[in-house]
C-alpha cells in the first residue's frame, strides 16, 4: 500500500474526531446557556423551590463524625427514603463543599439535599446567587421550619448563617472559647486561675520563672491564633458588613493582643505548635497548665487518648478571659452547620432530617461539642458535668461563654485563618515577632478580600 493510501483513512478519522468534538462543544455550549437561574419565589418557603415530589429520595451529605447520627435517623425513620453520603466535612476551610456545590451548579443537578459543614462561614457563598444559579442554601425561617423550633436555638447560635433576617443554616454545635485549665497543676504550683488577659500574662511570667517547659496555650494555626486569641480579645482584625471588609490591626485591642502573644512567645509559655501536630502532644502532654480554647476541646483534646488524654478529674473549663475593665466577651472556633438545599424535591423530608440532627436525643448522645439547640445543649452539659471527667463549674463556664461570643467578628467567602498561616506563622517559626509580621498579614487579608469581591474599607 502506498503512503498516499495510508493517509486517507487517517484524514477521515481526524475529520470525524474534529466533527465530534465540535458537535459536542456546541451541545455543551447550548446546555450551558440554558438559564437555570432564580425562578419564581415560592410563597410557601420564601425561595424558588423545585417541584415537590412527595416521598422522593433525599441525599444527606455528612462527615464521618456525623455519619452515626445520619444512620440513627435512617434507623428511626425507615419511612423517609434517604441516601447517606460522606465527605471530608470541609475542615480548615478546605472548600470541598464549595467545590462540590460549584460543580453541581454548573451541571444543574446533583445537589445534596441536606449537608453538614464544619465551617461557619459557608453562608457567605451558599446564601447568595452564583453565576445566575439561585442560592444553594434554602431559607429556613420563611416556611420550611416553624419559628417555634428555630426559637429553640441558643441566642446568636444561627447568627453566622443569617443574612438580612433570612436564616440559611442551623448551628450543629457552638464553639465559644473558654479557659481550659489543669487543676492538678494549679494546685501543685499554688497558682490562682486567671480571669483577665492581664492576669493571664502575669501568670505566664511567673510560670516561665518557676517551671520552665510548661505552657499556657497554642497559637499554632490560624484557627487558634485568630479565633481563640484575637476574636476572644474583641480585636477587629476581620470584619465584614455586607460587601465591605475591614481589618484593623492598630485598634487598641488588636495591638494589645499582638503584644500579649509576642510576650508569651518570648517567655516560652506560648507555643506555635498546632494542637493537632503530633509534636505538640509529644512535647506538651501533661505540661499544659492552661489553654484558651473552644468548647470542642472537651472531646477532641482532653478526653481523647490520642491527644492530651488527661486523667479524669484533672481538667476544668473556666470563664473566658477578658480585658480588665472591658466587656466580658469571647471568641468562637468554628462549630458545625447544617444546610438544606433550595433545589430539593422533598423539602418535607429535609425539614424532618434537620430537626432530628439538631434536637433529638440521639443528637445529644452523639454530640462531640456543645450543641447549638438549647435543650440539647442543656442535656449535653448535664451529661458532661455528671460524668465526673471535668472539674469545677463546667456547665457554668460553657453557658457563660456561649452567651458572650463577641459579635464584631465577620464571616466572608474566604477563610479568616489562612493569612495567619502563610504570613505570620513562618515568621514566628524563624524567630521573629508577630508585630513584625502584622503589616504583611494585614495586606494579605486586604488582598484576599479584594480578590473575593469585597470593598476594603478602613472603618
Amino acid at each position: 500500500m502506498s503512503p498516499q493510501q495510508h493517509r486517507h483513512p487517517s484524514h477521515r478519522l481526524t475529520r470525524l474526531l474534529a466533527a465530534t468534538a465540535v458537535a459536542a462543544t456546541f451541545a455543551l455550549v447550548a446546555s450551558g446557556c440554558t438559564s437555570n437561574g432564580a425562578g419564581a419565589i415560592d410563597s410557601k418557603y420564601g425561595f424558588a423551590a423545585a417541584k415537590q415530589v412527595p416521598g422522593s429520595k433525599i441525599t444527606v451529605l455528612v462527615d464521618t463524625t456525623r455519619q452515626p447520627l445520619a444512620l440513627a435517623f435512617q434507623k428511626e425513620h425507615p419511612e423517609v427514603p434517604i441516601v447517606i453520603d460522606t465527605y471530608d466535612g470541609n475542615p480548615g476551610g478546605s472548600g470541598s463543599l464549595q467545590a462540590k456545590i460549584a460543580l453541581d451548579d454548573q451541571a444543574g443537578s446533583g445537589w445534596p439535599d441536606v449537608v453538614f459543614s464544619s465551617q461557619t462561614n459557608d453562608t457567605a457563598w451558599a446564601g447568595k446567587e452564583t453565576n445566575g444559579v439561585q442560592p444553594y442554601a434554602a431559607a429556613l425561617n420563611k416556611g420550611l421550619l416553624d419559628q417555634s423550633f428555630l426559637d429553640g436555638f441558643a441566642k446568636g447560635a444561627n447568627d453566622p448563617m443569617t443574612v438580612d433576617g433570612t436564616v440559611y443554616g442551623l448551628r450543629n454545635d457552638l464553639a465559644p472559647t473558654v479557659l481550659w485549665y489543669d487543676k492538678s497543676l494549679f494546685d501543685q504550683f499554688g497558682y490562682q486561675i486567671p480571669t483577665t488577659w492581664e492576669d493571664f500574662q502575669a501568670l505566664s511570667d511567673q510560670l516561665a520563672k518557676d517551671h520552665p517547659g510548661y505552657i499556657m496555650g497554642s497559637v499554632g494555626g490560624g484557627f487558634m491564633a485568630v479565633d481563640a486569641y484575637y476574636w476572644a480579645a474583641a480585636a477587629p482584625v476581620f470584619q465584614v458588613k455586607g460587601n465591605k471588609f475591614t481589618t484593623n490591626m492598630s485598634d487598641p485591642n488588636s495591638v494589645a493582643m499582638t503584644k500579649l502573644i509576642d510576650h508569651m512567645l518570648a517567655n516560652g509559655t506560648l507555643t506555635n505548635k498546632n494542637v493537632f501536630d503530633p509534636a505538640f502532644i509529644k512535647n506538651y502532654k501533661g505540661k499544659v497548665l492552661a489553654m484558651p480554647g473552644p468548647a470542642w476541646f472537651a472531646g477532641v483534646i482532653f478526653q481523647n487518648p490520642d491527644s492530651l488524654g488527661s486523667a479524669p478529674g484533672t481538667v476544668g473549663a473556666a470563664n473566658p478571659l477578658f480585658w480588665k475593665g472591658q466587656k466580658e466577651v469571647t471568641g468562637d472556633v468554628g462549630g458545625g452547620v447544617w444546610y438544606a438545599s433550595s433545589h430539593s424535591t422533598n423539602l418535607k423530608a429535609v425539614a424532618e432530617v434537620l430537626k432530628y440532627v439538631t434536637s433529638s436525643d440521639q443528637a445529644v448522645k452523639l454530640a462531640s461539642g456543645l450543641p447549638g439547640y438549647k435543650a440539647a445543649a442543656d442535656a449535653w452539659l448535664d451529661q458532661q458535668s455528671s460524668g465526673g471527667f471535668f472539674v469545677g463549674d463546667f456547665k457554668g463556664a460553657m453557658t457563660k461563654a456561649a452567651a458572650s461570643v463577641w459579635t464584631g467578628f465577620g464571616f466572608a467567602t474566604f477563610s479568616s485563618e489562612t493569612a495567619w498561616d502563610t504570613k505570620v506563622n513562618p515568621v514566628i517559626e524563624s524567630g521573629g515577632t508577630v508585630a513584625s509580621a502584622v503589616p504583611a498579614w494585614q495586606q494579605e487579608l486586604k488582598n484576599e478580600a479584594a480578590i473575593h469581591g469585597y470593598t476594603v474599607t478602613s472603618k
Binding site: M1, P9, L13, L17, A18, T20, A21, V22, A24, T25, L28, V29, G32, C33, S35, G95, Q98, A99, A102, L103, D105, Q106, W125, T130, N131, G132, G220, G221, G222, N272, K273, N274, D277, P278, A279, K282, T413, F414, E417, T418, D421, T422, N425, P426, E429, S430, N447, I451, H452
Partner: protein
C-alpha cells in the same frame, strides 16, 4: 510451474481483503483512544476555550485574561512554577542520563537488573500516595531521617517546607517518583545503539567518557527531548505536591502556590469557572510553546 491465472487473482483479492481488514483493525485500535481523547481532551479544551471568553454565557473578550493578570497571586505563582521547572528539568535530565549511562556500563547482569528495578520501584506507587509518604519524610518531628534535617538546621516542618526550599523539595519528590521510569526508558534506548558502532569506537580507542559524549548522548537526543517535553508538561501542572505538603508546613505554603492551584481556587473557592478556564488556556499556550521548541529543536519528528 506457473501457478494458474485464477489463483494469482485470488491471491491479489486476498491481499486486498487483508489490507481492508488491516485498515478496519486500525480503526478499531484507534477508536477507543479517539473517543477518550475527544471526551477528556479535545472536548474539555474546547469548553475551556468557550468559558475563557465568556462570563455567565455572555461574550466578554479578554476580560477574564486581564483579571488573571491583575490577580496579586498570579506573578508569585508564575515565579514559583518557573523556578521549580528550571531546577526540576535540569536535575532530572542530567541525573537520569548519567544514571542510565552508568547502569548501562555495569557489566554484571544481576547488579544492573537489580538497580533498574530499584530505580523503577518508587514510580510504581500512585502519585498522591508517594507525596503523602513525603509529607511524613519531610516533617523533622516525625521523619526517620530527621537527623539529616536537624544537622542542616531544620527542626520543624514549618521551617523546612517553606519559601526557597520548595523548588528543591518538589524536585526531590518528582525525581524520586518519576526518574525511575525514565532511567529504564533511557536504558532501553542505550540498548538500541548498535553494538557495531560501540565496537568501532572502542577499537578507535575511545574510553567510556568519550563514547558517552560522542556517541551515546547524541544518539539519545530524541529520547532526552522526549523526556524534556513530558517533564515540562507535567511540571507546569504542579499541584499535588504543594497541596499536600501545605499540611506539613502548617499552611505556610499558600493555597495558591502554583498556577494550577490558583486555577483550582478560581473555580472552586470563587466559583469563577471563566477565570479558571482563562488561566488553564494560558498554561496550555505556554506548554504548547515549550513543546514546539523541543519538537523542532530536538528533532523529535525527524525520521532517521
Amino acid at each position: 510451474m506457473l501457478p494458474p491465472v485464477g489463483s494469482r487473482r485470488r491471491g491479489a483479492a486476498l491481499r486486498r481483503r487483508s489490507d481492508s481488514g488491516q485498515r478496519t483493525m486500525g480503526y478499531v485500535f484507534v477508536i477507543g483512544y479517539g473517543i477518550l481523547l475527544a471526551a477528556f481532551g479535545v472536548f474539555p479544551t474546547a469548553y475551556a476555550f468557550y468559558l475563557s471568553f465568556t462570563r455567565t454565557g455572555a461574550f466578554v473578550g479578554v476580560d477574564n485574561f486581564s483579571r488573571v493578570f491583575q490577580d496579586y497571586r498570579f506573578l508569585p505563582a508564575v515565579q514559583a512554577v518557573a523556578l521549580y521547572l528550571i531546577v526540576m528539568v535540569l536535575t532530572l535530565t542530567v541525573l537520569v542520563v548519567v544514571i542510565a549511562l552508568v547502569v548501562h556500563a555495569i557489566r554484571k547482569r544481576w547488579l544492573s537488573t537489580t538497580l533498574r528495578f530499584l530505580y523503577y520501584l518508587p514510580g510504581a506507587l500512585a502519585g498522591v500516595a508517594s507525596v503523602l509518604l513525603w509529607s511524613f519524610m519531610l516533617n523533622p518531628e516525625l521523619s526517620p531521617i530527621s537527623g539529616i534535617f536537624t544537622s542542616l538546621g531544620f527542626s520543624t516542618g514549618v521551617s523546612l517546607v517553606t519559601g526557597g526550599n520548595l523548588p528543591v523539595i518538589f524536585t526531590l519528590i518528582t525525581f524520586w517518583t518519576g526518574a525511575g521510569g525514565w532511567i529504564v526508558i533511557m536504558y532501553g534506548a542505550l540498548n538500541n545503539i548498535s553494538d557495531d558502532i560501540m565496537e568501532a569506537a572502542r577499537i578507535d580507542g575511545a574510553n567510556a567518557l568519550q563514547m558517552a559524549g560522542y556517541i551515546q548522548i547524541p544518539m539519545l537526543r530524541k529520547w532526552i527531548a522526549y523526556m524534556g517535553l513530558l517533564t515540562i508538561a507535567g511540571g507546569t501542572q504542579l499541584f499535588v505536591e504543594p497541596q499536600l505538603l501545605a499540611g506539613v508546613s502548617h499552611g505556610a505554603i499558600p493555597p495558591q502556590y502554583s498556577l494550577l492551584q490558583l486555577a483550582y481556587s478560581y473555580a472552586f473557592q470563587q466559583a469563577d469557572f471563566s477565570e479558571s478556564a482563562a488561566l488553564s488556556l494560558l498554561l496550555l499556550l505556554v506548554t504548547a510553546g515549550f513543546a514546539a521548541i523541543i519538537v523542532f529543536r530536538g528533532g523529535l519528528f525527524d525520521r532517521d
